[in-house]
């Protein structure tokens, strides 16, 4: 005979809501005990709250922080995207469309128009996994309750990770936008009680390791202010491909962002980032180095894919992702040679 208690993280529905007028005020209002959540678009926060996954006792509304709300080119050619700018506004911004079409494409492959109109860039970086088990507070989950176990590993794991997993967690990070930002070597500007700092995109999100409850390296009380994208936008040869169980409004099973700098058909520089395969957007510098100087063709993209996926490991239902990711990397490489072949919704080229 076993006995168990109905697990419900007690969720007192009353909470304190404050509107901050600027960054200093937002930081000073925030409590240091982990009970504060900054809210902008709130698109994921609402889900998490309704499902009893999160339970902030203080909400600080940062929608009115003008410091977060602009997109502009800096003097050194770097593009600065405010953390409070909406995803849709970012994707359709003329500079983004022209200089960073890969970013624009990736954003538009995510969510729905309604959500993109609401969700902000900072929030996009902080969205949480869509693992079924994470969203069900009645079942164990190491990301929710460290040490409670991971039902996904032996359960239904079609959407789960094949790279960078740990014995504690195989959840994937669901963003599309971040896959492009990873490929573009973006930098995340944050501010907090201890001042400002910049985090390279590759270092922003974490692998699950022994701390699956931590999604990223943002410290308590820190706020994302902007995302800086280097001048090199791969606007001539780029592609974003998203493979999923329906043609829109579904998270990626595998997605690929590819940017190529070419001399004729010879690759000067390649960037390949994968989504839907790990706890963070996945890049392999050795695969990118492999492509450098080689012909841009299916054979070499396959070689790069093998390097990227060398350590890939399936958990049953998601075994297909290994083969799918390889095929997707090859196709997306070829699509990057003809960016006009890309279809709406980041579907495979015709």
């Amino acid at each position: 005979m076993r006995s168990c208690r109905l697990r419900m993280e007690a969720a007192m529905n009353s909470f304190e809501y404050k509107q901050a007028k600027d960054i200093p005020e937002a930081l000073s209002l925030a409590r240091a005990d982990g009970t504060t959540t900054f809210v902008a678009g709130g698109t994921n926060l609402l889900d998490l709250w309704k499902y009893n996954i999160t339970n902030p006792s203080q909400l600080i509304d940062i929608n009115h922080l003008t410091e977060l709300s602009e997109i502009r080119l800096l003097e050194d050619g770097v593009l600065m995207i405010g953390a409070g700018v909406r995803n849709a506004e970012t994707a359709y911004h003329p500079i983004v469309e022209q200089n960073y079409p890969l970013l624009s494409r990736a954003i538009l492959a995510g969510a729905s128009p309604q959500i993109r109109n609401m969700a902000t860039n900072g929030g996009n970086l902080l969205q949480r996994t869509r693992c079924y088990y994470f969203y069900d507070h009645e079942v164990p989950c190491n990301k929710r309750i460290p040490g409670s176990g991971c039902p996904a590993m032996s359960g239904y794991n079609r959407m789960h990770a094949i790279l960078g997993t740990s014995e504690h967690c195989i959840a994937v990070f669901p963003s599309d936008m971040c896959v492009a930002l990873a490929a573009l070597d973006a930098v995340v500007n944050v501010t907090g009680p201890e001042g400002n700092r910049s985090i390279a995109f590759a270092d922003f999100h974490r692998l699950p390791g022994d701390t699956p409850h931590l999604d990223n390296n943002l410290k308590e009380g820190e706020l994302i202010t902007a995302i800086k994208v280097p001048e090199k936008g791969f606007a001539t040869n780029y592609a974003y491909l998203k493979l999923r169980d329906r043609h829109s409004y579904a998270f990626a099973l595998v997605s690929v962002a590819t940017g190529l700098a070419l001399d004729g058909n010879r690759i000067l520089e390649a960037r390949i980032a994968l989504g839907g395969v790990a706890h963070k957007p996945w890049r392999s510098l050795s695969a990118e180095a492999f492509l450098k100087g080689r012909e841009a063709n299916a054979e070499n993209f396959a070689g790069a894919a093998d390097l990227i996926l060398k350590e890939a490991k399936g958990f049953g239902h998601n075994d297909f992702k290994i083969k799918l990711a390889k095929k997707a990397i090859i196709r997306n490489g070829l699509m990057a040679l003809k960016p006009e072949s890309q279809l709406p919704g980041a579907q495979p080229s015709a």
Binding site: C4, R5, D136, G345, A350
Partner: protein, 745 residues
């Protein structure tokens, strides 16, 4: 006669404006004084029993009024019979809060009642249960050895078990020239109408209740509530003026009705209970099924043996069956048949009718097996159907009242361009995409249930009709108005069809594509009786030219009665009512199927779907680029609402084939994607060009109006047509639905 018929015209939904402007009120939107709100607490365990409940933290919450569980619930009807509803399968009806036993995950285990919804929901997080858990079985394929035949009961009449074998199937199959053996797997699906299940109970006093409920049967739920709580029928009124989709889930009273009424009676207060989206996955669903088919033919493609064995899920407390195994024999003649339907009871809630129950499951398997047979025979799939075309119903050895399936095949094939298909799988392509063509046959029952309609002419000369039916979103209000308008020669604006109320004359539940024929026929019968009464009354007037005139000699047009012989002689409806001292002239009549006459016939609608898919040659991504469905369903009352029915069904077919599945985690014993983000249904980007053809089919035998119903026939052929198109594109037969793209590269 030169009278413009309204039947057959594409009239827009009469309540459309109310619906799209938010004016239409649904069950959860009725206000009442001091309304209390109930929130259901659902079991987090799959099987076992409750050993303790601690509500101390809940009752301390300001605004919480009561917590009801099995420990303190009011006394309930003792005998199972009193729990039953018109659509209950054999077994013991599930009783919410009956005792400490947990029968399935998500089972309601308490109701928290508070001054508002938020407080009640918050209360649900503060209640503490202790459970003793037991081992459970929730996965069909792991339990095939527990298969057994279904028990029989009241519901068996509408859902009969498969017929006994004919000929010598095993021998015939063994020795057949050409044979195909295949297995199909279908997952669980949940109805998920957009309107959440909800009940608002108004406690009227004197033992009277007015209940706004989401249902497909107001009288069904009235009887359920009255029986269960020991109330007089006439004291219980169930209303469902609008239904925001149901698809079969509203055919049985769901537990929020029970809990809401119980709370209202217990507290003597007005109470509302609304389920949340996750709880929409905690009751009825389409059962998962495994099907094994064995079809054989001679070398010319004539079918010689049909074998169809079904293993389907049911609960541990009721035996739900949906007719699945014997559909092939209603389409194709075969001297040797073997049909079997087995049930596998699991620790889940009882499955239930979901749009085209049984038919959509069966025809996917049947028509994919026919497709496979056609490739073995090297006969065009359409030709194979035509070779085996039967004008009569081979299973019943009776003629159909009408069957225009051949015309469906030919019209849809021509529209689609089937002749451009190259037979070899994988032989058609566009750039990176393999192109496939597939087709399949559809068949569905043409039911009619008894219904009563009250028809009256009011003082202002308008026609008022009363019937308890709901409009489940199909256009019932509009088409009933059309039928009635023609019968009395009135404009649509002069007809007022009132419905969705158990106080009104009888209607059975609204399912099985039966409502048009059921209530529609009753309207015609009542209208005819009303015409007689009106003519007789007109004849009683002073110096009336209608004296001793038979109703058949009178034409009803524009609010007037005209003599057929002399169309210049007329009298208005208003004058007749004025003569009747302003009292309405009314009649109540029953419409019912002509059982004796129809016993000699089989009754069915038919369809043919043709589908084109594109499949990415490297990545397997599937798109249904276009589909044509031709439907033969007797008379089409309203081509616009009927087309919407077929379009919705075709999209559901795409959903069933490529998207939809509730995923059961075997270890947890629960559905893990119980939300509309992860329970995938198609979005606009998944839908290509869809075309609907209504094939001419005149049926004077079936009923007074020649209708057969269009609610389900548009779905049944689509899954096989899509699967067959995918095979044609890729050479891969994926018999497990939904088909995931990663199975295709």
């Amino acid at each position: 006669m030169g009278i413009d018929k309204i039947v057959g015209k594409p009239i827009s939904r009469l309540e459309g404006r109310e619906k799209v402007t938010g004016m239409a009120k649904y069950a959860a939107e009725y206000q009442a004084d001091n309304l209390l709100h109930g929130y259901v607490v659902s079991s987090p365990i799959t099987k076992g029993r409750i050993i303790d409940i601690d509500i101390t933290k809940v009752i301390d919450i300001p605004g919480v009024v009561e917590v009801i569980s099995h420990k303190n619930r009011p006394k309930l009807a003792w005998f199972d019979l009193q729990y039953t509803d018109m659509d209950a399968p054999p077994g013991t009806v599930f009783k919410p809060l009956y005792d400490e036993n947990i029968l399935y995950n998500g089972q309601p285990i308490a109701l928290i009642i508070a001054k508002d919804f938020e407080t009640a929901r918050y209360g649900s997080t503060q209640i503490i249960f202790k459970f003793e858990e037991q081992d459970f079985q929730t996965v069909l394929k792991d339990n095939l050895t527990r298969a057994r035949p279904a028990k029989k009961g009241f519901a068996t009449a509408l859902k009969p078990p498969p017929p006994p074998p004919t000929g010598d199937f095993e021998n015939a199959f063994e020795n057949a020239a050409i044979k195909v053996e295949s297995e199909f797997q279908h997952g669980t699906e949940h109805h998920n109408p957009i309107e959440l299940f909800a009940t608002t109970t108004i406690f009227e006093g004197n033992g009277k209740l007015t209940i706004y409920d989401k249902t497909q049967g107001t009288i069904n739920n009235q009887l359920f509530v009255a029986n269960l709580f020991g109330l007089r029928y006439k004291d219980v009124r169930v209303l469902a003026p609008f239904v925001g989709g149901a698809f079969g889930s509203g055919l049985r009273p769901q537990y929020q009705l029970f809990l809401c009424v119980m709370a209202a009676l217990h507290l003597k207060r007005n109470v509302r209970v609304v389920l949340d989206r996750k709880q929409m996955f905690s009751f009825s669903h389409r059962p998962p099924a495994i099907q094994k088919l064995r079809f054989a033919s001679d070398i010319n493609g004539r079918i010689t043996a049909l074998g169809h064995e079904v293993f389907a899920e049911t609960s541990n407390f009721e035996d739900y069956t949906e007719p699945t195994a014997s559909w092939s024999h209603r389409l194709y003649a075969a001297p040797n048949t073997l049909f079997e339907h087995h049930l596998i009871p699991l620790d889940v809630y009882t499955p239930m009718d979901m749009r085209a129950p049984g038919g959509s499951t069966a025809l996917h398997a049947i028509e994919c097996t026919m497709d496979e047979l056609s490739y073995k025979l090297k006969i065009d799939p359409l030709d194979l159907r035509l070779i085996n075309y039967s004008d009569m119903d081979p299973s019943a050895e009776k003629p159909y009242t009408s069957k225009a399936l051949r015309a469906c095949y030919l019209e849809a094939a021509e529209k689609f361009g089937w002749d451009k298909r190259s037979p070899e799988p994988g032989s058609m392509a566009r750039g990176n995409k393999l192109v496939g063509y597939g087709m399949a046959t559809g068949i569905w029952d043409a039911f009619q249930f008894p219904a009563r309609v009250e028809a009256m002419i009011s003082a202002d000369g308008k026609l008022i009709l009363n019937n308890a039916t709901t409009d489940i979103g199909t256009g019932t209000l509009t088409i009933m108005t059309q039928i009635a308008a023609d019968e009395l020669g009135l404009n649509i604006a002069d007809v007022d069809f009132r419905y969705g109320d158990s106080k009104k004359p009888f209607s059975m539940f609204q399912g099985g594509s039966a409502t048009t024929s059921s209530t529609g026929v009753a309207i015609v019968i009542a209208a005819r009786a009303l015409r007689k009464k009106l003519v007789r009354k007109a004849g009683e007037m002073k110096d009336s030219p209608f004296k001793n005139v038979a109703a058949e000699q009178v034409v009803f047009k524009g609010g007037n009665l005209l003599l057929k012989e002399d169309m210049k002689t007329f009298i208005s409806l208003k004058e007749i009512i004025a003569f009747n001292a302003g009292r309405p002239i009314k009649t109540t009549n029953m419409g019912k199927p002509h059982v004796l006459k129809l016993r000699k016939y089989s009754l069915a609608t038919h369809s043919a779907s043709f589908v084109e898919v594109e499949v990415d040659k490297d990545l397997g991504v599937v798109t249904v680029t276009r589909a044509v469905t031709a439907v033969a369903a007797g008379k089409i009352i309203n081509p616009k609402t009927a087309r919407s029915q077929i379009l919705g069904s075709m999209i559901w077919g795409i959903s069933k084939t490529l998207h939809e599945e509730t995923i059961m985690d075997a270890r947890l014993g629960k559905y893990i994607n119980a939300n509309l983000g992860e329970y995938h249904i198609p979005v606009h980007a998944d839908i290509g060009e869809l075309e609907v053809i209504f094939t001419e089919e005149k049926d004077d035998l079936i009923n007074e109006i020649g209708t057969k119903g269009v609610g389900e026939i548009g779905l049944v052929a689509m899954p096989a047509a899509i699967s067959n198109a995918i095979y044609h594109a890729t050479g891969k037969r994926i018999n497990k639905l939904p088909i995931h793209f990663d199975e295709l590269f």
